[in-house]
């Protein structure tokens, strides 16, 4: 079993107006097999947490720690974090010019495992995963995310989750912009990996919709860079009915 441990994390970014603190002391522990949903209004710092775990250069960690089975994640470069078993399914996957999906998937798998995957089983795995996620076979020859629709990009993120088999998946608003069918396909993809065992999930979402398909064990509500409330799945139900209003300062209430 693995543990991803986040302790009193403070994170800021540089803006034109100077330094802006976004995460103001976040603590969270995720174990293999657990699904944690992080919910919260826009601008509450949910995505910042995701990007910080993955090591995006835009975010500066001012204090606190992130460890993976005791290893200091903050000391690792972006690629080292991925090789250590952290996977970020991005909210806005970028188009990478010049690199076909096939080439990209194989190169990444090789880097992650430290050896090239066996060609025959690998090709079969890719094909199977693509068909389960209803990704057209043509996509293999297209450049990474180039010309893909929003929904296609998200499916390709989950394709990677299935193929790379990380220890922890951080899903950054994977559900946003998906129609119900695509949402089901994507959720099923995650659940396959989850059921196979060995995965811990941090599911970041604005809406409760995806939680009908991916059942969280824990729900954390993010407000203004901090966890405002924690609970089990019942907390998500309450949020669905009440929204985030009760967490917001009076002035911001609609």
């Amino acid at each position: 079993m693995s543990t991803l441990d986040i302790k009193d994390l403070h994170v800021s970014i540089e803006t034109e107006q100077g330094k802006k603190e976004i995460l103001k002391g976040v603590s969270l522990t995720i174990n293999t097999g657990e699904i944690h949903a992080i919910m919260g209004p826009n601008g509450s710092g949910k995505s910042t947490l995701a990007s910080t775990i993955a090591g995006h250069p835009r975010y500066t960690v001012d204090s606190g720690s992130i460890t993976l089975d005791g290893e200091d994640v903050l000391e690792m470069s972006v690629d080292e974090r991925a090789r250590a078993g952290l996977f970020l399914a991005m909210q806005y996957p970028v188009e990478v010019p010049g690199v076909t999906m096939t080439n990209f998937l194989r190169t990444a798998k090789t880097a992650l495992d430290g050896e090239a995957p066996k060609l025959r089983t690998w090709t079969k795995d890719v094909k199977e995963a693509m068909s389960q996620l209803r990704i057209d076979a043509d996509f293999a020859q297209r450049n990474v995310n180039e010309g893909f629709s929003g929904g296609e990009k998200k499916r390709v993120e989950i394709l990677q989750l299935e193929l790379f088999k990380p220890k922890f998946a951080i899903m950054d608003e994977t559900d946003s912009g998906l129609d119900v069918d695509a949402l089901k396909v994507v959720s099923e993809g995650h659940n396959r990996v989850h059921e196979a065992g060995g995965l811990g999930t941090l599911l970041i979402t604005h809406y409760t919709r995806i939680l009908r398909y991916i059942k969280p064990d824990f729900v954390h509500v993010f407000v203004d860079g901090k966890i405002a409330e924690e609970g089990g799945p019942e907390l998500a139900d309450r949020l669905e009915e009440e929204g985030y209003d009760r967490f917001l300062p009076t002035a911001a209430k609609a």
């Binding site: 690629d79 990478v96 010019p97 010049g98 190169t107 992650l112």
Partner: protein, 427 residues
Amino acid sequence: MTETTEKARIGAPAIDGFSEEGEDLSPVNAGQGPLAGASTKGHSHGGGVGVPDSSRAGRRTSYQLADFPQLTGREEDWRFTPLKRLRGLHTEALTGAAPTVTVTGPEGSEAPSAVKVETVDRSDARIGSAGIPEDRVSAAAWEAFTEATVLTIPAETELETGVVVAIEGTGTEASAQHLVIVAERFSKAVVVLDHKGTTTVSQNVEIDVRDGAELTVVSVQEWNDDAVHASSQQAKIGRDAKFKHVAVSLGGDLVRVTPSARFSQPGGDVELFGLYFADAGQHLEQRLFVDHAVPNCKSRVLYKGALQGEAAHTVWVGDVLIRKEAEGTDSYEANRNLVLTDGARADSVPNLEIETGLIEGAGHASTTGRFDDEHLFYLMARGIPEDEARRLVVRGFLNEIIQQIRVPELEERLTEAVERELAAGNL
């Protein structure tokens, strides 16, 4: 990826003065006169009388240097070129020693015995059979050369291996060079023009692709860092002939390649490919011209370029002209650039002129993308180390062109050369 794409504009009228590119003057020539663009309408720069400047059909052609005025840098076809770095190619008599020419097979092996190699003087009938200068620098070379190399692939001969024309520069004095490649009817061959060393040369390459012939010409510019090279490579395409041209520019201070293909009979098929990789300070320019002057010919153009480093500058101008007579034409041209660092500049100008509506298809596209921190983050977040991520992107991007060459040892060499370029820029 920030990207601008120009969609095909089939049947769009030619635009006087190419106002869409008005702000893309070479920074070197800028300030010497009015900006190009809409303001150049009515300003003659060497166009034929009565034909608008903006039509490629109006470009002046002549074997006489005197027919081309001195360059100012404001001319449509010179406005991107830093003239000061031409090292006299546009002003001086080109009397320096031209690069040496050695014809071999692949990797220095003996040339295929069927190929005929001759050194001829200016009076040879084949000189001027496939090309005519279209600019002052080309005309200067035409006026100055004393002898030419003529390479002939005899009729109905299929060469098993490629022919390599090793062109080795040995000095920096402005010089002239003339080559003629004749692919006689129903012959089939691959010819590589392999440019290396140090030089200042204006070069005319005439390529006569006769009826039913199938010829590939690969021009590799892997010069030393200080070389200056202007090369007009003009092909005349016979009936049902196939011509593939691949221009690869990697080394040199200023390299300006102007390939053209003119269909002289119906049924011709032309593919023009290009690959360029500009480092800091390099100017790599490619201007091509496809002249659909007869019916039922097909052309495809794809040039891809990568840029890295301060003041790396590439220029791609693709002129495709479909004349009134050229019914049934099928044509498409595209240029793709990948900017790897700040401070580099890629100019890309597709020009499609269509004078008849009775065509199969015509289109053009131009994209310039940036490889930036977000791409890098994406690939690294999948476990791929930074240097490998960069290689992955550039190799993938340029490989589409390299694999068109189909001379395995040359493909390998160019792949390695691209890797070296990347490593040299080590960011």
